[in-house]
Structure formats: C-alpha cells, structure tokens
C-alpha cells in the first residue's frame, strides 16, 4: 500500500513578501532618516521636545515598530540567501535559523522601544 501525503507547504512566499515590504519601505525612508538621525541630530538641528512629541505619538510608535521589524526581516532574508550563495550551502539550516532568529529578537526589541 502506498500513502500519498500532501507536499509540504512552503513558507518561502511569506518570507519573500516581508522581504519586499521591507525593501520598499527602506528604499523610500532610510536615506532621509540617516540624514536626520546621523547628521541633523548631532549638529543640534533637531529639538529634544520635537523628538519627544514625535516618538510619543501612538501612530509614530506603530510606524517605527513596523519599519524596524521589516528592516530586520529584510536584512535577515538577504543575508541568509547571500551567505548560502557564498558557498555556505551545507550550513543552510543553521544560517536561516540564526538570521531569522536575530530578526525576531530585533523586532521584539523594536516593539519594546517603540511602545515604552
């Protein structure tokens, strides 16, 4: 007797969807955010009270969390695939676990930071 099992459903499309969302949002906002955080804040162009106001806004908290989480997932997915391309195929499983694990930890931390 032969048993026919359903082929295992891949979770890969889900990872690619998050990767694409992260790629798009970072392509749009990351350069200006680096200019603001990396150059305008240290040169005293951004007021503390303004930052406080922005980061306490519930909508900003949500956007910040989504942005950070998607960026981490985007990086994890890219890094996972490029490390495998670089000849680390035998370690594909631990690499995936490490990359997505780090992204998940980063996303949890982002949630804690955004909603404190």
């Amino acid at each position: 007797m032969t048993t026919h099992t359903q082929p295992k459903k891949s979770r890969e499309p889900f990872a690619w969807a998050l990767f694409s969302a992260g790629g798009m949002i970072t392509a749009i906002v990351t350069p200006i955010l680096i200019v603001i955080v990396g150059f305008l804040v240290p040169s005293h162009q951004v007021e503390f009270h303004r930052l406080e106001q922005i980061f306490r806004n519930p909508v900003t908290r949500l956007i910040l969390f989504a942005l950070a989480a998607l960026t981490f997932v985007h990086t994890a997915h890219r890094l996972r695939h490029s490390l495998i391309e670089m000849g680390l195929k035998p370690f594909a499983r631990p690499i995936a676990a490490l990359c997505y694990g780090a992204a998940l930890a980063g996303a949890v931390w982002a949630g804690v930071v955004a909603f404190t």
Binding site: V41, F48, T75
Partner: protein
Amino acid sequence: MPYPRQRSNTWYLRRWPYRLFMLREFSSVFLAGYTVVLLILVLKVHNGAASFADFRETLRSPWLIGFNVVALLFALFHTATWFLAVPSALQLRIGEEKVEPRILIGAAYGVMLFTSAVLLAIFVV
C-alpha cells in the same frame, strides 16, 4: 549520474557585476545597523532630556559619523537598485497599454522625495 557543476567559493569577487551584486546584498546590513542607532535614539528620548543630550554627544564621535556616511551611501545604493527592479515586480497596465518602466521608476523617486520632504518638515521645521 548527475554531474554537479563546481562553483568556487569566491566567484563573487571575480567580475564587477558579481561584486556589485554582493555589495547590494550587503547594503542591507547597514540598513539594519542604522535601525539599531535609530532605536537607541528613541530609547534615549523616552529616558529624558539628559539621556538624549548624552547620546547626541555620542553621535558626534568620528566613528559614528563615519558609520553614518557609509550607511547613507549604502542606503542610496539600495534605493537605486530597488527602484530599478520596480518595473519587473509591478507590471502595471492602463487599459491595453503597459506603463513604461521609466515612468514607474520616476514615480518611485517621486514618492521617495515627497516622503523625505515631509519627514524633514516633521523633524526640523
């Protein structure tokens, strides 16, 4: 017997298109690194004015300025390569006509510039 083709582990260093491909892949590490800096800033702001002032001094260190310069270059590289791929990912049609790739790419840059202006206004003005 299948014959697995051998590929060297340093193939990506051989030619410029491969090198650029790997650079693009690794640009994402800088995106994540800068996100950590952003989250630390948010954390310090939540901790109060003194905590923020301390971190602002840290941000002035040559190491962090250097990191931010490199991160900005990689972020722009990511934006350029990502927008270049938009027409392949989004096959938009108006009626029978396919929307031209350069219009889609232009629209993506338009969205980016508009969003950047809004964010600048929110933070600085």
